[in-house]
């Protein structure tokens, strides 16, 4: 989802595991870079490779399974818990994902994702279960994320491309209206905060007088 995002239709990568922490998403030993780029190759590093060796991919891990691909990562409850490392959001984004779907996100991860135009979509446990079951039955099952309408739709495999098609299931999701505007228009929080610097300075003066 680059700036100005509104809708995405894609097949999904299912990661049916609860409590996926940011140490799994990107282990600490890969946090030594001083830029934001290139973290994708180490996404889920220790679940992807045997003995930390890129020559030995673990066949049973979903990112190594050519059956699954897409711009949408679907994960079980409490995704992104643990460390505040924004590298987790950078790694997911860098690996080609624009959306993460789960029934529950950890707070800091959610903020970090939104600040990087990676959309966290929270849905019910039931709908999440339905998505996992549909993808298991047919890996070409897709999802349509519509940020403007705040809806997530399950698509039959044939409907992923071309655009359009009937629904198999759908749910609406919540997003803070301010953040939605930012994502739709490509604004970031720093631009906004810099624009109210006078208010901040006034506040500091008042505060020091108390």
């Amino acid at each position: 989802m680059s700036k100005g995002f509104s809708q995405i239709k894609s097949t999904v990568v299912p990661l049916n595991r609860e409590n996926v922490d940011t140490d799994q998403i990107i282990p600490a030993r890969f946090l030594k870079a001083t830029s934001r780029d290139g973290f994708g190759k180490n996404l889920f590093r220790d679940w992807r490779y045997e003995n930390d060796d890129e020559g030995q991919p673990k066949k049973d891990f979903v990112l190594n399974d050519p059956t699954y691909s897409g711009k949408i990562l679907v994960a079980a409850k409490n995704f992104g818990c643990g460390s505040s490392r924004e590298h987790a959001a950078w790694a997911i984004k860098d690996a080609g994902f624009d959306v993460v779907v789960s029934s529950f996100f950890a707070d800091i991860f959610k903020n970090n994702s939104l600040n990087n135009f990676l959309l966290p979509v929270t849905i019910s446990e039931d709908f999440l279960k339905k998505i996992f079951e549909a993808v298991e039955k047919n890996p070409k099952t897709g999802l349509e994320v519509n940020l403007e309408k705040q809806t997530l739709k399950l698509l039959e495999s044939s409907q992923v491309s071309p655009l359009g098609g009937d629904l198999e299931g759908a749910e609406s999701f919540e997003i803070n209206p301010y953040k939605k505007t930012c994502l739709l228009n490509g604004y970031d929080d720093i631009d906004y905060l810099l624009s109210i610097k006078e208010d901040i300075e006034k506040f500091e003066t008042l505060k020091s007088e108390i």
């Binding site: 220790d46 930390d52 490392r85 707070d107 301010y178 905060l193 500091e204």
Partner: protein, 467 residues
């Protein structure tokens, strides 16, 4: 109107609310370290702006530093470059840096309090989820991501939604041998690793009031491990006495004025919380974790849940977790052998933690089967440990007293636990690979870790101290 401690501080720091959106929250103190700040400085440079309030920012190097031979250049190039980038960024922006070699260097959540920078009533952030530690002083303190670090560097403000509020009351007297680490591991085991997501937590009750500042910091530190954005404890005489005379705490007349304000920082009698949990202190026993998130904990006398005790929906994750740990459902934790003992991290590396360990191991020798690392949280803790002769006790016991840093808590620097080995650790996370690829972690209190260092296995420290 009755207000909570959180409301009182929050309201004083809100500049405005965006229509239907988040609040603009003013940040008093910003701690930074080498791992989560470089990209934020790059962002500022790209925008062509300077740090807005450099005097409100304090930096240290902790995550990526070695804990032996700190006087030598850092061996690993990427780690060295990251620490050097912090030095350069701080010099360019006029930020105070307590880097390697500085007498104040240490883990960011240890040095803030010990220098008196952390004070009641402040808003404090850091690009580190354990920033919740500082809430022990009655401040709003929470971890942020790097984009947010950039926001605070640029404007001293953050855009934040107001969290829900939870109070956890712990009443009564703690059992002998039970430390504050056991309290927090007990709470997380009861409410799960996501049980407080979306909440800011206030810890209250007579058991909390009886704790030292160090012990309170351990509890607030692990708030994030149940998903809470932060944890806090109303300041009291224990807090005020701790701060007295610390380098950056208010002195003289300023101290009187500050104290008058700090005494107003408590939740009003009728204040309403979104959720309240009551715990009886007497129910808490020394705790140990067996799984791969901090909610997977039991009493050291307890057993790992058997499969029929686990919720159907969680069975898959539970089995994967035990497979990683090499443990069987239903097994007892007592008697489980360990290979490493790590005493350190922002959770338990303060002087009180080291004193507790030293008090227990004095005159004893470590088990031949284990390697024991004690890593002080700061240069000041290290200095004090040496002054008190604690280093000698460790030396005689066969423990390694290393130099300050995050060390083996996070498998980032040189200190890692080898694959497949078991480490009883006073740190905060037992995630897969947290202490090194395929390393296995048992989280515990400093006393339970000290006991394992001597016996080589998990045990109940009360079997030893009551005799």
């Amino acid at each position: 109107m009755s207000r909570t401690l959180f409301d009182k501080i929050w309201n004083k720091h809100v500049i405005k609310q965006i229509d239907g959106g988040p609040f603009v929250l003013y940040i008093d103190k910003h701690f930074i370290h080498e791992v989560t700040s470089p990209q934020a400085f790059t962002g500022l440079n790209k925008r062509g702006i300077k740090v807005f309030r450099p005097k409100q920012v304090v930096a240290t190097a902790d995550h990526n530093v070695p804990t032996i031979n700190q006087h030598l250049p850092i061996k690993e190039e990427l780690s060295r470059l990251q620490v050097e980038a912090l030095k350069k960024n701080c010099a360019e922006q006029g930020i105070e840096l307590y880097g390697l070699g500085h007498p104040f260097q240490g883990i960011v959540h240890v040095i803030g309090p010990e220098l008196g920078i952390t004070q009641p009533g402040l808003t404090i952030v850091c690009g580190d989820s354990h920033t919740s530690t500082h809430g022990a002083f009655g401040s709003i303190a929470f971890g942020i991501g790097t984009s947010e670090v950039e926001m605070v560097l640029a404007t001293q403000c953050l855009l934040q939604s107001k969290p829900k509020q939870m109070r956890i009351n712990i009443e009564g007297e703690l059992n002998k041998g039970v430390l504050s680490k056991d309290i927090i591991l007990y709470i997380i085991s009861k409410i799960s690793a996501s049980g407080a997501t979306g909440y800011f937590v206030e810890y209250a009750g007579s058991a909390i009031r009886s704790l030292s500042m160090e012990a309170r910091m351990t509890i607030c530190n692990m708030s994030i491990e149940m998903g809470a954005r932060g944890g806090m404890i109303a300041p009291d005489e224990t807090t005020f006495n701790y701060l007295k005379g610390r380098k950056f705490a208010p002195q003289g007349e300023a101290s009187e004025k500050a104290l008058a304000g700090w005494r107003q920082l408590y939740s009003d009698k009728d204040a309403v919380f979104d959720k309240e949990i009551n715990i009886n202190a007497a129910d808490i026993e020394p705790m140990i974790t067996y799984g791969t998130n901090p909610g997977m904990g039991v009493s050291v006398n307890g057993h790992i849940p058997s499969l029929n005790e686990v919720n159907e929906k969680e069975k898959n994750s539970f089995e994967k977790s035990l497979k990683y740990m090499g443990l069987q459902p239903g097994a007892n934790m007592k008697g489980k052998k360990v290979d490493f003992v790590f005493i350190g991290s922002c959770t338990n590396s303060r002087i009180e933690d080291l004193r507790q360990v030293a008090g227990f191991v004095k005159g004893k020798k470590k088990s031949a089967a284990v390697e024991v690392w004690v890593v002080p949280g700061s240069k000041q803790v290290e200095k004090q440990a040496i002054e008190e002769g604690i280093n000698k006790i460790f030396e005689e016991a066969g423990f390694q007293l290393r130099q300050p840093g995050c060390s083996a808590c996070l498998g980032m620097n040189e200190d890692k636990i080898p694959a497949g080995k078991y480490c009883i650790s006073t740190s905060n996370r037992n995630f897969e690979g947290r202490q090194g690829p395929n390393a296995r972690t048992f989280l515990a209190s400093p006393l339970t870790a000290a006991l394992a260092a001597i016996t080589g296995e998990v045990g109940d420290v009360r079997d030893f101290i009551n005799n």
